[in-house]
Symmetry: C2
Subunit: 184 residues, 2 copies
Amino acid sequence: MRESAVKDRILGTASRLFYDQGYHVTGINQIIEEADIARASLYNHFPSKTDLLLAYLDQTHKEWFMALDAYLFPLAEPRDKILALFDYRIQRQRRLKYKGCHFNKITAETCEDEQVFRRVKMHKERFRQYIRDLVAQTQHHSSLDDEMLTDALFLLLEGGIAVGAMFRSSDDAEKAKLIAEFFL
Amino acid sequence: MRESAVKDRILGTASRLFYDQGYHVTGINQIIEEADIARASLYNHFPSKTDLLLAYLDQTHKEWFMALDAYLFPLAEPRDKILALFDYRIQRQRRLKYKGCHFNKITAETCEDEQVFRRVKMHKERFRQYIRDLVAQTQHHSSLDDEMLTDALFLLLEGGIAVGAMFRSSDDAEKAKLIAEFFL
DNA sequence: GTCTATAAAATGATAGAC
DNA sequence: GTCTATCATTTTATAGAC
């Protein structure tokens, strides 16, 4: 067995359960059972449940932007890349059964933890910057300036995904994309 | 003591804790302690914790639209009412310390419960209809049709509040309002 | 590093007296 | 209707053998 196979399985199982069921409703017992590892192995790799949560957020953040880069890579035009942001998130939500944004979810569950808060903020600020960079490369004929256009796209995306979770549907994210096309 | 004083205190305390801390992290013990009532009194009025949750959602839904009606009542122009939707939610979030939409929060915590899901969907669909009615009364010079304008406003509002929770700020909801003014 | 056994506390819910 | 006492589980986390 590889050096980190156990650790990976713990984090993988915990990540899936934290997102699918929720963080607080997922117990250590269920994680060790589904990951098929011993109780003390979990505490060996992760000193507490909170450490496991932070590792989950860090890993999700990394994977999220890597997958986004890969998704946009084939596209040449900045405008196409911007519209593909919507497709990226829509496809992802379809795969995840419309449970919404990982970082929105954890914010709703653990409002007080500053370490969680810092990671959520960082993730979303980086996404906003991602959009800002694309907008700067685009020749749009919008009456909005670049910064407002960035915010509009960001808010339409976040709104579309959040509403999608409440309706278990991608309809609103699709509408968000149509609205975004009017700006671009 | 009034007939329903105890029941009201239970629901009031539970509502506050469910929103401020989260549903799953709030135990029955804390509710009975802070409401200063006996354990069995809670189970007398609410057969289970789930019943308490559903009562919380129903009450929040009712209060939310009543307060909204009261907030928009003094305004004459439909356009002003639409913009006041943003102010209403911004002021509310400021008071609630930017913990976000009640219905978004509970969706993030309990994705599987169909009774919860039904109430969330109903609340948001009614809000969208509320916007739709106002848009229909407005003479806007937008290139978007009424239905898309409705969706744009709805998504900007929901996005602004959701992002506001992740940043503990009303900045994005304020930006959402500015963007909305371009459409109207 | 991984394991089993267990601790200490908190969970949702019930019984029965008043 | 309200109360106290208590139940059976489940929670996160630790101890100590291998």
